[in-house]
């Protein structure tokens, strides 16, 4: 009987890990794959390796929090399996609707639901976790905004050498069929850029492992049904499986959104998000990559869009703008697209891109997601008390 329940639990774990692998591989490697620096299979292999390292080291701290600190009793095997089903349900909903609901939030929500139903919730730990959840996006936004407003133009100028080297990389690949001798400078520069992108991707994979491996298996580890080491290996295999299969699609969908952003900006976002995620996982806070990433992206864009220079540039560049638009409209294959005078006076304002209400609506999903997970789990464990 216990074996059967454990087996069901492991299958649920693999489902959760598989989906985590799909989504986080997309975030960690989408930009590199999109830029043509690395193949999808290589990305998945690196992902699996560094997820394992992250889970094996820093991930243990999060594992301890999830399996032992949120509720005062251990999560029984049956309850752990039920919790995993709620985590899986959260992921399923997120996938179906295309909304990035952080898995760590769903996990904590479901365990809290169990705690509320059994009256064993450790509110101190939860308060600690939730306050970091509030602070994290703010930190991400602030870092992004500072870089976007004050450093990005300078970084962009310096990176321009590197991004021209990106095209050299493409040249090299097309030339790699006849295998010509590469200029020594080209090779070095090219190598440098590629190595930076790979290192940052691996760093992000590491932080994904540290934060996400526990989500897939912690509910089973709590009761002692599964040894932590075995659990980490199972989660890694499941995440890797997702990385090699469904991530092919997510690297295109999530990755395409990320590779809309200039590679430099994507690297800034990845470095910031990975650092936040690794640091919080280190102190045992369950956190998802997406929470740090999205708000850093928004911060970067917002900081750049609202920088004081913009207003002046727009006013000064107004005539240039008209010429640019006129040049577009004058294309021979573009018939009746004259931009009327009334249009040109309404110059585009980048500030419109980050409407505070739209951002708030987005963030509200991070409140609704875990709340739903808590409520559902609470309802389930209240109605079906025997699994406790």
């Amino acid at each position: 009987m216990v074996e059967t329940v454990l087996l069901v639990g492991i299958v649920a774990s693999i489902f959760v890990g598989f989906n985590i692998g799909g989504s986080s591989t997309g975030i960690a490697w989408g930009p590199a794959v999109g830029a043509g620096i690395i193949k999808k299979t290589t990305a998945a292999a690196l992902m699996t390796m560094f997820v394992f390292l992250g889970g094996w080291t820093v991930g243990r701290n999060v594992m301890d929090t999830l399996s032992g600190d949120i509720i005062t009793i251990e999560i029984s095997l049956a309850a752990g399996v039920a919790v995993l089903f709620f985590i899986g349900l959260g992921i399923l909903v997120a996938n179906v609707f295309g909304v990035p609901v952080p898995t760590s939030m769903t996990t904590v929500g479901a365990i809290v639901g169990l705690g509320l139903a059994t009256g064993t919730t450790n509110f101190e730990t939860i308060g600690w976790i939730v306050s970091w959840w509030v602070v994290t996006p703010i930190i991400g936004f602030w870092i992004g905004a500072t870089i976007g407003r004050y450093l990005y133009p300078e970084l962009n100028r310096r990176f321009e050498i590197k991004s021209s080297e990106g095209s050299l990389l493409a040249l090299d690949r097309s030339g790699s069929v006849p295998k010509p001798a590469l200029g020594p400078n080209t090779t070095l520069q090219e190598l440098g850029g590629t190595i930076v992108v790979l290192i940052i991707g691996c760093y992000m994979a590491f932080s994904a492992g540290a934060s996400n491996v526990p989500n897939a298996v912690a509910p089973l580890v709590s009761s002692g049904a599964l040894e932590p080491n075995a659990a980490i290996i199972i989660a890694t295999v499941a995440i890797g499986l997702g990385g090699f299969t469904i991530a092919r699609r997510t690297m295109e969908s999530v990755g395409s959104e990320l590779s809309d952003i200039p590679l430099l900006a994507a690297l800034i976002v990845m470095t910031t998000a990975s650092t936040i995620t690794t640091a919080l996982s280190w102190i045992g806070i369950p956190i998802s990559l997406v929470m740090g990433s999205v708000m850093t992206i928004v911060g970067l864009g917002w900081g750049r869009a609202t920088r004081p220079v913009t207003a002046r540039e727009v006013m000064r560049g107004d005539t240039d703008t008209e010429i640019a638009m006129g040049a577009l409209a004058a294309e021979p294959d573009a018939p009746v697209t004259q931009i009327g005078e009334e249009e040109s006076e309404a110059a585009l304002d980048a500030g419109d891109l980050f409407n505070p209400r739209a951002v708030m609506k987005y963030v509200s999903m991070w409140i609704i997601g875990p709340s739903m997970s808590t409520l559902l789990a609470y309802g389930f464990f209240t109605l079906v008390p025997f699994v406790n």
Partner: protein, 141 residues
């Protein structure tokens, strides 16, 4: 006789139906196709890309071009002497449409577009435009 019509298009099939309907209903009108770029999305990729672009106008025009290209094809295929103008706006689609609507006599919009995720982030655009537009709105379904 209505002569200035605003047709917001998001590139969805439903928005193409809206343009086709506008051409049938107002065959001699001056039709402006409005496309909003950089709206809210799961990772805010397009919005951030635009704000980091060297030249916002050029980048926005590139994003909008496929939609306008399609609009031109539809206008060319239709009978009548309607003329087509294009307009690009940034950010939240509902706000952008409402801001522009004042300059037109009517708005013709598809009942829904986009994916479920987009609808979660911005809601049903047509519904909100109907509620807030200063001019009459036709919803095509």
């Amino acid at each position: 006789m209505i002569s200035r019509v605003l047709v917001p298009m998001d590139g969805s099939e439903m928005s193409e139906h809206a343009l086709e309907y506008a051409l049938r209903a107002h065959p001699n009108a001056e039709i402006t196709v409005l496309h909003v770029v950089g709206g809210p999305s799961p990772m805010w990729g397009e919005a951030t890309a635009l704000s980091l672009a060297d030249d916002l106008e050029v980048d926005a025009a590139e994003h909008a071009e496929p939609v306008f290209e399609r609009a031109r094809e539809i206008v060319d295929a239709a009978d009548g002497d309607a003329t087509l103008e294009t307009d690009i706006q940034l950010g939240h689609p509902v706000r952008a449409i409402i801001n522009r609507a004042d300059d037109y006599e009517t708005v013709i919009i598809g009942s829904h577009g986009g994916t479920v995720a987009e609808r979660l982030f911005v809601g049903n655009v047509a519904e909100k435009v109907v509620r807030r537009s200063p001019v009459p709105v036709t919803v095509v379904r």
